[in-house]
């Protein structure tokens, strides 16, 4: 893989920091969920860290993202606060959505995270609307829409790309191609899966097919698309090949063979990046260990905060139905 030396050292560190923040958050979440500390659904981003981090580093703080059911990684990459996130996952009132929305619908308008989503493929039209608003308000912001290969077969994919392309909207469609449509292997229900970026041709917009396990490649490609969008030239479709380390959700019985799961888990964007950092003299074993320990301490602190935070009172069940 190409040398990291050509990159700004601060950027390399932010890439590593961002991916580790997601990795350690999600590994911890996996343990807590398995231990029965939370109920409901939790879909983890493990394996796909390089995409959220590379893409969000190419965005400005006041840009927007829409997310998927696998939304923790996107939220963290966009600047999500661990305490607000864990409080949300525990259903506690200091949560990002006041403890009402949980893992599956986590959102934080303050950081431009317009929401995780329980419906596969439903983020794209919302991103189009956010893009349209940006155009009308003339703010030069950009919106990145994360979605998967499963979502690329929903009608909303076609409708959204066509509309965004027709109106030259500032949207970057970031396709996280992990080869799985919930519980089903996408290749069994989709004729052409490898280069989904080629579908861009149908909409008259640029399409890219990249290695979604390489945070640098994601950063550069999405960066180019963001620049294009900000310049008013319209959307881009970026297909990022990646691997989902866990099942569709925690506790899921994965249809992939143990061999296929092992193969997926052998692709590790975080470990690969750490090897490159070591190789290029941008980190030492010690500095990596220290960064991990520092972030893990932040994660643990956030978990403790969430555990001790108040639960939403029953009297609040009917709150928020209408705008105050």
């Amino acid at each position: 893989m190409e040398s990291l030396k050509a990159l700004d050292k601060g950027l390399v560190e932010r890439m590593h920091e961002g991916m580790l923040r997601i990795r350690l958050f999600e590994e911890t979440q996996s343990r807590l969920f398995k231990a029965g500390e939370q109920e409901g659904f939790t879909h983890l981003y493990l394996g796909e860290e390089a995409i959220a981090v590379g893409a969000c580093l190419a965005l400005n703080p006041d840009d927007f993202i829409t997310s998927t059911h696998r939304g923790h990684g996107h939220m963290i990459a966009k600047g999500g606060d661990f305490k607000k996130m864990f409080a949300e996952l525990y259903g506690r009132t200091p949560g990002a959505c006041l403890g009402r929305s949980g893992s599956l619908h986590i959102a934080d308008r303050g950081i431009g995270m317009l929401g995780a989503n329980g419906l596969v493929g439903d983020g794209n039209p919302i991103a189009v609307g956010a893009g349209y608003s940006i155009r009308l308000r003339g703010t030069k912001q950009v919106v990145a829409s994360f979605f998967g290969d499963g979502a690329s077969n929903q009608g909303t994919f076609h409708e959204s790309l066509n509309m965004a392309a027709s109106f030259d909207l500032p949207v970057v469609f970031v396709l996280e191609n992990n080869g799985m449509s919930c519980g089903t292997i996408t290749a069994s229900v989709c004729k052409v899966l490898q280069n989904l970026g080629d579908r861009a041709v149908a909409y008259g917009i640029p399409g890219e097919n990249i290695d979604g396990m390489d945070v640098v490649e994601v950063y550069r490609t999405v960066g180019k698309a963001v620049e294009r969008a900000r310049a008013g030239k319209g959307p881009t479709l970026v297909n990022c090949q990646t691997f989902r380390h866990h099942g569709h959700f925690e506790g899921d019985i994965d249809v992939r063979t143990p061999q296929q799961i092992k193969e997926a888990q052998s692709h590790d964007a975080v470990a690969d990046f750490e090897k490159r950092m070591l190789r290029d003299g941008l980190a030492t074993e010690k500095s990596i260990r220290e960064r991990r320990e520092r972030i893990q301490a932040l994660v643990d602190e956030a978990v403790d905060f969430a555990r001790g935070a108040p639960k939403a009172p029953a009297a609040d069940a009917m709150k928020f139905v209408y705008a105050e």
Binding site: Q38, E39, G40, F41, G91, G99, R100, S101, G102, S103, L104, H105, N117, G118, L119, V120, G121, G150, A151, N153, Q154, G155, S181, C182, G183, T184, I185, T186, S188, V189, C190, I253, V255, K311, A312, A314, D316, A317, M318, V321
Partner: protein
């Protein structure tokens, strides 16, 4: 009698009907190798092969459309939409086509298809995976709607639905799949349009649907201690509604309470209440009352869930307040 789980009973209904008639097929997301989100189609792929157990991409609208087209051409498709929340993506197909095709070409076209789906609150999975949307479909003339509450009813109603030449929606409940109950070894059918008195009583009629039947039965048992004899009637079919059985029960008890998980406003309880008002007014000693889900989008917060839907305790309290 032999005990089967609700999902096993549905599985057996599919096996029997698919074995009997090769025109019966199953189509939907994750129905093949994954065995269905709630394991209703477990083992069917191995048994009937991928042509008849058709995994689809994630595309609810096209799933219903495909089933519709196949039914028009004489197949008997069963389309699975794993969570009823996702069916909103297919509303055009259902509302404008499935419910209308036979009425557009009376006597010329038949549409022998079944849409299997599920609803209900359970386990903290939030507002996009917990809705009970049966009333939306009851509002569309041209669909039959069944909501089995026991393994026995599930198998018998699904078999009847598959053989029906009108489109039938079979709405299951996520909290029922693991429920065990008696299911005969020999073949049987449960008629569509026939309610079932699940418990006889003389002081009040509790009309409950789906999972709420079990909560109502528990409440009825507890009410016995309060000196109240409650009759529990399960309509089993919402469309066409078995008005005669409901009226007969109310004639006996002179009181009626409708209980469902769906939010109260414009829920099926409103329809049942209106029907009893029209057909049984003279026998009633008080208004038909409803006890249903709160009119709120369910928080993904398992602490708040029980507050949002009826329970055996709340049904008991409600009945006591009516008769007390």
């Amino acid at each position: 009698m032999r005990q089967l789980q609700y999902n096993e009973a549905l599985n057996e209904a599919l096996i029997e009907e698919m074995t009997r008639d090769e025109k019966v097929i199953l189509i939907g997301e994750d129905v093949g190798a994954y065995g269905g989100v709630f394991k209703v189609s477990k083992g069917l792929l191995e048994r009937f092969g991928p042509e008849r157990i058709r995994d689809t991409p994630i595309c609810e609208s096209a799933i219903i459309g495909t089933a519709t087209g196949a039914a028009l051409m004489g197949m008997r498709p069963v389309a699975e939409i794993s969570f009823i929340d996702f069916i909103l993506l297919a509303m055009d197909q259902i509302g404008n086509h499935v419910a209308k095709i036979m009425q557009i070409a009376p006597g010329l076209l038949e549409l022998p298809m079944v849409i299997r789906t599920e609803g209900g609150v359970g386990g903290g999975i939030g507002c996009q995976h917990s809705q009970s949307l049966e009333a939306l479909f009851a509002h569309l003339p041209g669909l039959k709607i069944v909501m089995p509450s026991t393994p026995y009813d599930a198998k018998g109603l699904l078999k009847t639905a598959i053989r029906d030449n009108t489109p039938v929606m079979c709405i299951e409940n996520k909290k029922l799949y693991a429920l065990k109950g008696p299911v005969p070894e020999e073949e049987y059918f449960v008629p569509i349009g026939k309610a079932d008195v699940k418990r006889e009583g003389k002081d009040i009629t509790i009309i409950a649907t789906s999972f709420m039947v079990h909560e109502a039965l528990k409440a009825a048992e507890a009410l016995e201690k309060d000196g109240i004899s409650a009759e529990v009637v399960d309509p089993r079919t919402l469309v066409p509604l078995d008005v005669d059985t409901l009226v007969a029960s109310v004639k006996k008890t002179a009181r009626a309470l409708v209980v469902h998980e769906a939010v109260e406003r414009c829920g099926i309880g409103a329809e049942i209440s209106a029907v009893l008002n029209e057909k049984a007014y003279d026998y009633l000693d008080g208004p038909v009352l409803r006890h249903a889900g709160l009119n709120v989008s369910l928080p993904q917060n398992w602490h708040l869930e029980p507050v949002c839907i009826p329970s055996a305790d709340s049904i008991r309290e409600k009945v006591k307040s009516i008769l007390g």
